[in-house]
Structure formats: structure tokens, C-alpha cells
């Protein structure tokens, strides 16, 4: 028999998180500080809209690009929040989570051999999506001393005459790092000089704790060279609804919609109706969640530093990325032993790229009580390591 599967696919490594998840799920009564999704429920008014849309029998397809009403609301929202101004009819598309938008953007924009710059540590899907699009992924290893931000120098050094795309994953999962307006402005001249396009994954845009999030597409010269990706999962605690969106100039969006049309058809209809409510009426609910995350963020950083773990102060998403280098264990070893010996799951930094070695991703999408329980176990484990 012939090999039933494609080489290109088999060469892609499964996500490091997946491997770890398999171990965790075998573990009885393990607790976790390892999730990448909010602990809050979706605001009730949003859930109610979802139910109502089902009751009304709105169970048909929507337009490929998404419900027009929703796209218009997204257009209003991004203009109000991030100073982004795009045509809701031709330049905004509703996708099945931000993840789909990442895949579409890459496939719509690269030709075989084009180089895609991927700063790491970062979300697990950029690299495989680039590979599947026949691009050549080029990793930029971000540094702790820069709080895992992308610097102008790092960008310049990674560019070749084949470079076409820069992926910008900020606010960042797993480090919690953000890029301020000034830091983004540093990059813009380089991007323009080398005629690059940017895929800016801003799924955590609402979850920042030091000033407002700045979208690179709002900076002069960037509107026409940026695909902005955002969604409902993190800001509105709607992960299971599978709803994201992409914003791009029409010339790119036309091609993305074509791919979406053939692969997906349209995002789930009842999720889309619910999302309209989220954008229209949930600012207060979001503000409450952000305040709660911010409080736990301070608590977690303080607790980790109290244990002698070094960590820079992250101002975005809901992760802290402490260094465990001083214990002489790799991230994998540390996380595995922590899981086996104390039954606490955290994610090894290496799940997000090789340069995550020596770090752990600890999430604060947990109640204060759960954080404390987890931290107690971490403290016990550290005491044990220090006694060894």
C-alpha cells in the first residue's frame, strides 16, 4: 500500500502542549495552572442571545464573511477601541476562532519559499500554518531581558530578500509581554523599507494592564500592510463559541474569504448572533473581568517572586512566564516532575518555541482560591528541589 499521508503533514511536530496534555489527563486529581482560556463564564446576556437565536430558528448559513450585522458591529468596535478603520462589508471577516484567521492569512499571502518571521515564544500554530502554506518559517528568538518584545535590531537581523511576512503576537501568549505604541513605531520604518506585510494576532488586545492596547495597523503606513486578527474567546470569555475575526485590506481579504468559503463556509450562526450582543452591550462585564485578571496578576507575580522565582512583570494576556533556570532542570523536566510529585500542571516554556527553555507558563485565569492551592504545591516542590 502507498503511504496514505502527506510528507508535509507528518513532518510537522505535534504541539508540545498536546504531549503534555496527554500526560496530565492520565493523572488522577491533578490541579492546574495551565489553561489558556478564561475562567469566567460568557456574560449571561450573550449566552441568552445564543439561546434566543436558536429559539427563533436562526439555524441557516450566514454570508461567507459572516453576518452583516456582526461585521458592522465589529467595524464600530475596532474603530472605537483600536482606531482601526476598515470597510465592514469588504475588509472584515468572521472566522472560526482566531486560529482559522491565522491559517487563512498565511495561505492567502505567501508563495512557496517566501519567508515568514515568527517571533517566539509564541502561540503554537504560526509555524505549522506557515509550513502548510509552503512558506519558510524563520524564527526570531525573543529575549527575556527585553521582556520578550520584538526589537528593531532583532527584526532587521532576521530579514532577507525573501522575507514577506512578519507575525506579531502581542499581547503575547505565553509570556504576557506587550508592545507599546513607541515600541511598535520603532518597527514600522523597517517593515515599510523592506516592503513586509504584518499578521498581527491581537486576540488578547482587551486584556492589557498598562495603558490601552495599540494596533499596529493604526500606525501611519500600516493600514494597507496589516492583517489584524482578533476574536471573542479571550475578551468575552467565549472560547467554546469558536468565533474570531480578521481585518485586512480588500485585496488580501478577497483571497482569505475565498479560502474560508471552500473550507468552512461560515462561522456558526448562533455564535454570530450572540457575538453581536457581546460587542454592543458588554463593555462593563469586560471591564470587570479585566480588573479581576489584573488583581490576580499582581498577586501571582508577588507570590512567584516570593518563592525566589525570577519573572519580569507581564502586562498582557493572563500569563506569567517565570524563569526556572536556577534549578538546573529543563522546562520539560521541571513541569513533568511538578506534575508527578505535586500533581500541579503548568506548561513548559518549550511548548512555545525552543527559546522558551528555562521558563514556565503559569496562567492566572483562576480564582484566588485556586491560585493559592496551586502555588502551595509549587512552593512545596521548590523547597524540595532546594533541599536536594
Amino acid at each position: 500500500m502507498r503511504n496514505p499521508v502527506a510528507k508535509k503533514v507528518t513532518q510537522i511536530e505535534p504541539s508540545g502542549i498536546r504531549k503534555f496534555f496527554d500526560i496530565v489527563s492520565e493523572m488522577q486529581d491533578a490541579i492546574s495552572l495551565g489553561v489558556g482560556e478564561p475562567d469566567f463564564d460568557t456574560p449571561w446576556s450573550v449566552r441568552e442571545e445564543g439561546i434566543y437565536s436558536l429559539e427563533r430558528g436562526r439555524t441557516f448559513y450566514t454570508a461567507n464573511a459572516g453576518l452583516k450585522e456582526l461585521r458592522i458591529e465589529i467595524g464600530n468596535y475596532i474603530s472605537r477601541k483600536y482606531d482601526l478603520h476598515y470597510d465592514a462589508v469588504h475588509e472584515i471577516m468572521v472566522t472560526v476562532g482566531g486560529s482559522e484567521a491565522i491559517d487563512l492569512a498565511l495561505r492567502a499571502m505567501v508563495d512557496p519559499g517566501d519567508e515568514v518571521l515568527i517571533p517566539q515564544p509564541s502561540y503554537v500554530s504560526y509555524l505549522p500554518c506557515a509550513v502548510m502554506a509552503d512558506a519558510k518559517p524563520v524564527i526570531i528568538n525573543l529575549k527575556e531581558e527585553n521582556e520578550f518584545k520584538l526589537t528593531r535590531k532583532e527584526l532587521e537581523e532576521s530579514i532577507t530578500d525573501k522575507t514577506k511576512i512578519l507575525v506579531l503576537p502581542f499581547p503575547n501568549n505565553p509570556t504576557g509581554g506587550i508592545m507599546t505604541r513607541e515600541e511598535l513605531e520603532e518597527l514600522v520604518p523597517v517593515i515599510i523599507e523592506h516592503d513586509l506585510y504584518v499578521i498581527s494576532d491581537e486576540i488578547y488586545a482587551e486584556l492589557t494592564y498598562k495603558g490601552k492596547h495599540v494596533s499596529i495597523a493604526s500606525l501611519p503606513g500600516m493600514h494597507d500592510r496589516t492583517v489584524t486578527i482578533n476574536g471573542f474567546s479571550k475578551a468575552f470569555a467565549m472560547t467554546g463559541w469558536r468565533l474570531g475575526y480578521a481585518i485586512a485590506p480588500k485585496v488580501i481579504m478577497d483571497q482569505m474569504i475565498k479560502l474560508h468559503q471552500f473550507a468552512i463556509m461560515c462561522a456558526p450562526t448562533n455564535s454570530q448572533f450572540a457575538a453581536v450582543e457581546a460587542l454592543k452591550n458588554c463593555d462593563d462585564e469586560v471591564a470587570k473581568m479585566v480588573e479581576a485578571y489584573d488583581q490576580r496578576r499582581r498577586f501571582l507575580i508577588d507570590a512567584l517572586r516570593g518563592m525566589g522565582l525570577e519573572c519580569f512583570e507581564p502586562f498582557g494576556a493572563f500569563y506569567v512566564f517565570p524563569s526556572i533556570k536556577k534549578f538546573g532542570l529543563s522546562s520539560d523536566e521541571f513541569a513533568n516532575r511538578l506534575l508527578r510529585e505535586e500533581k500541579l500542571a503548568v506548561v513548559p516554556g518549550t511548548a512555545f518555541g525552543d527559546c522558551g527553555e528555562g521558563f514556565l507558563r503559569i496562567s492566572y485565569a483562576y480564582s484566588l482560591t485556586d491560585l493559592k492551592k496551586g502555588l502551595e504545591r509549587l512552593q512545596r516542590f521548590i523547597n524540595k528541589l532546594q533541599a536536594e
Binding site: F21, S25, S32, G34, Q295, A345, L368, D370
Partner: protein, 160 residues
Amino acid sequence: MREKILNMLEKNGRIDIKDMATMLGTNETVIANEMADMEKEHIICGYHTLINWDNTSDEKVTALIEIKVTPQRGVGFDSIAERIYNYEEITSLYLMSGGFDFTAIIEGKTMKSVAQFVSSKLAPLESVLSTSTHFILKKYKDYGTVLDVPDKDERMLVTP
């Protein structure tokens, strides 16, 4: 700062001052001083525990009573309220807009004892015109907390 402290305390009256200080990015003295001041100013009026008595073996009934009164010249509602709320059985008393004047909440051991209190103490008060007693059959949610439904984290343990 005060609003944030109050929001945290309202959700968890037992929260550690040290934790609160860390979470609000300040120090313990600031929190302790603010709390002491707010106690003095009667902004913070107590630290209570939310109990679901239905889950205990203690029998307890709660009734909500609508009361109509005739306010008297010169003294108004407040002095009538005082005559009502001084009874220990009354756990809450509110002045209302609309079809009646006060809502009183009464806790008692049995329906009979509550009924007796209303008929022998409350209704005969000089300014009380009428009362209407509603017994609470089940409490689903109190002070923003859903009773009887334990919070369960159903998320997968590790996700990207």
C-alpha cells in the same frame, strides 16, 4: 481605591488584607487605614457570612412582608421605621416606592411564629394600615451568589 476595596470585600469578607494590598498594588497600611475609616464613616457596616440555611438541620423560615402605613405629621416614615426595625425578628427593612411603603424581612423558626409576630406585634402598630406576608419557599441566589450550585471548573487541564 475605596471602591476597589469595597468591591473585593463585598465578594469576600474574609479576604486577607495582605492579599488585598498585593492585588491592588498598594501596601497593607493603606488598606487597613481605608477600612478603618470606612467603618467609622459607616460605609462598611459589618462583615457577614452568606449561609445557605436550607443545607443545615436548622429549621428556619423567611418571610417578606409588605407594609402600608400612615405617616404622621412631623415624624414621617423614619420614626415608624424605627418602631418596626427595633424588633429583633426583623432582619431587613426598606422604604419602598410603589403600592406599599415598607418591605420587612423576617426570620423565624416556624411559619406559625412568623405569623404570630405579624399579627400580634406588627399589624397592631398604630400607624400600620395593612400587612401582606409572603413566605420564601426557596432561595436560589443571594447577594450575587448562586446558592446550592457548587462552582466546578470544567475546563481541560491544559490548553494552548
